[in-house]
Symmetry: C2
Subunit: 418 residues, 2 copies
């Protein structure tokens, strides 16, 4: 079978399976998740052996250390996959929830029912645990999934797929509910992202390059995550201790995550008291500072920030620092240079807190909290398939609800339109 026909057949089978998944009960879906967890537990040796093949091939292809680290399965990572499945099984099922049921003057009763999207295409890179994470969220939300992992993880992903098949079979669900693309042919992605008849939405996970390429070429809606250029703004009425704690946590808790602060904005009245001790704290942690002229007057050891620093997602121990004159300046800076991901104000002032929440156009806006909280688990979604920087459909952390839609339900008693 050529690659176009193969992808077409995956799509067709996924569409058929999605009809059965949409009506599967919570119990049956949870049974499949728990049976998959057991299958993974029983297949530890096979998983490690398959992963060793990938690691060996990766080393031979001289993949870099960071990529090999993401590729590796360890007993602890298998534990985490198993635990993740159990957590998803324990989440409430969003499917079938009916809300806003009310009577209209015509006499009909109308509400909305939450329903699966249908078929979800997931395209991701080296981490094989994404196979389980993504499959479990799609399954729990009543969708069928087509998973296309990185070619370097093909053996690991196939071994994980076998466990997913066991789980689906044990619960009496169609095996085509989760399909892992079996070819490493790069053309497979090109076909997957144009199967608009069979695939309802795409979720690419990986580097910005991958995601931009897919968003550009797709003929299907994409839930995507691009940059995370997050800000903390320290207002003139900020409490010193909260400013210190939040600025340090938002930057240094983890450097490589999308919700890490990349630019610190400080009101000019706070700069003299805040920047010197903060610079010391950052220096202790090895964070490089790149400041505007006013910031550098207070902390001469800062490098000079250039224009591109204000829009860079460093994903590294580097922080841009700017002194601003007002809340308006801070909001304008964030809306202009930021990536509409997550931005926080530190303030005790009621009116400015309220204005910041309303006027900053980001998927998460915060008062007196670290940007690092922007996360599906922290927000109580239970798990996340990604963080959307789009405004359409899902914005911010995307959990089970983001993999569903709502249809209108109308109940009558022979009602006709006059």
């Amino acid at each position: 079978m050529n690659i176009a026909d193969y992808m077409q057949s995956l799509g067709q089978q996924a569409r058929d399976a999605s009809r059965l998944m949409a009506r599967a009960s919570s119990q049956v879906k949870n049974a499949a998740l728990l049976a998959t967890a057991e299958a993974l537990d029983a297949a530890r040796e096979r998983l490690l052996a398959a992963n060793a093949e990938d690691m060996k091939a990766g080393a031979a292809r001289q993949l870099d250390a960071a990529l090999l680290d993401r590729l590796e399965l360890t007993p602890a990572r298998i534990d985490a996959m198993i635990e993740g499945l159990r957590q998803v099984a324990a989440l409430p099922d969003p499917v079938g929830e009916i809300t806003d049921m009310k009577y209209r003057p015509s006499g009909i009763q109308i509400g909305r029912m939450r329903v699966p999207l249908g078929v979800i295409g997931i395209i991701y890179e080296s981490r094989p645990n994404v196979t389980v994470e993504a499959a479990s969220l799609c399954l729990k939300s009543g969708n069928a999934a087509i998973l296309r992992g990185g070619s370097e993880a093909i053996h690991s992903n196939q071994a994980i797929a076998a466990c997913l098949m066991q789980g689906l079979r044990a619960a009496g669900l169609p095996q085509a509910a989760v399909q892992v693309v079996e070819t490493t042919d790069r053309e497979a992605v090109g076909h997957l992202i144009t199967l608009s008849e069979y695939v309802d939405v795409l979720v690419p996970r990986g580097g910005k390059g991958l995601i931009e390429r897919i968003a550009n070429d797709a003929r299907i809606p994409v839930i995507k995550h691009l940059d995370g250029v997050c800000h903390v703004y320290v207002d003139q009425d900020a409490a010193h201790d909260k400013s210190m704690a939040i600025a340090i946590n938002a930057k240094t808790h983890r450097y490589g995550t999308c919700n890490t602060m990349e630019t610190l904005l400080v009101h000019e009245s706070q700069a003299a008291s805040l920047l010197p001790p903060l610079a010391q704290a950052y220096q202790d942690k090895g964070v490089e500072l790149r400041g505007c002229a006013r910031a550098r007057l207070l902390v001469p050891s800062m490098l000079a920030a250039i224009e591109s620093d204000w829009s860079t997602e460093y994903l590294a121990p580097i922080l841009a620092v700017k002194v601003v004159d007002s809340l308006d300046d801070a909001i304008n800076h964030i809306n202009q240079y930021g990536s509409h991901h997550t931005d926080a104000i530190v303030t005790e002032n009621y009116t400015r807190a309220r204005r910041f929440l309303t006027e900053v156009d980001s998927s998460s806006v915060m008062v007196n909290a670290s940007t690092r909280f922007a996360d599906g688990f922290e927000y109580g979604l239970g798990a996340e398939i990604g963080i959307s920087t789009d405004k359409i459909h899902a914005r911010g952390p995307v959990g089970l609800e983001g993999l569903t839609s709502q249809k209108y339900v109308v109940l009558g008693d022979g009602h006709i339109r006059e």
Copy 2:
């Protein structure tokens, strides 16, 4: 200025205006709507004169009668535009609503705030009243709009735009909040649908050809409406009177609307008692019937349906009729041949009603009600910018809420992530 630069400048101005619109209060937005209504009322003669120019040019270009009818502005249609503005002003403002605010174990408090999408591009055909309808919904929901109407309506649209400008000015809102594209150059659409930096979502309104072309070429999410191949299924436990009333209303209340029934499915146990009197009723109204072999045994005057009839949106006094053996057959037929728009079951049976609602994959599913109810006004949305046949973002009738998104709001007291 060339057309690319012109569209780029509209986009840039719309983006700037959208920031001001997002923070405009309900009172100010309503003032703009009501001032526009007054401006239209005061400009009746200018509107009719501008429209007469379009009508004259249209007649010279030999546009067909249906198109000329849609193009025409009459005093009654101006009344309707004015009334529409007042109705939108009276609707609740969705922007700023905060829901689901709750504490998390970490101590942060989290909820969601409804916010405008930003900039909405509307592309439509001959009806000039869409200019007011679309602008009013975008304005009320805090968005900026770029409107591209049909070239045949250019003078009417410009005259309406002048009233909108007056309304915005009177309320102190930026005039770029509503921009009507001033050129009839066809290339303008091509530029508009790729302005991804400035336009957040497109809403094409018009024939299927226009919508498919835009959906294919756009580089921006599209809220779109394609076919309305709607069904009524008469179950074995249907009440005869309700079946008759709903089948007649769903087909004959209006022929040209997307929520009109195009295929009637009848359980075999109901066919003998229902089809002959129903055929008589349809015949009295001039509806042509195209039936399956079993339906034609009962009503020999029916034409024979061919395969393509099951997936055709007639938008005309024509109805396809099929006798089916079970609820499963009906659901499978609807999911296979329908357009996932609106489908109804007539039944007194609880379990089959519940299964129909769950298993039919359409934006509106109904029990004992006419498909003609699928409409923003009937559903209580107040007004609609269209009916979405997509699953992503908005499904079914799209009102003000469909022109908004939600952002996460996080409140803390110096909270950091451990």
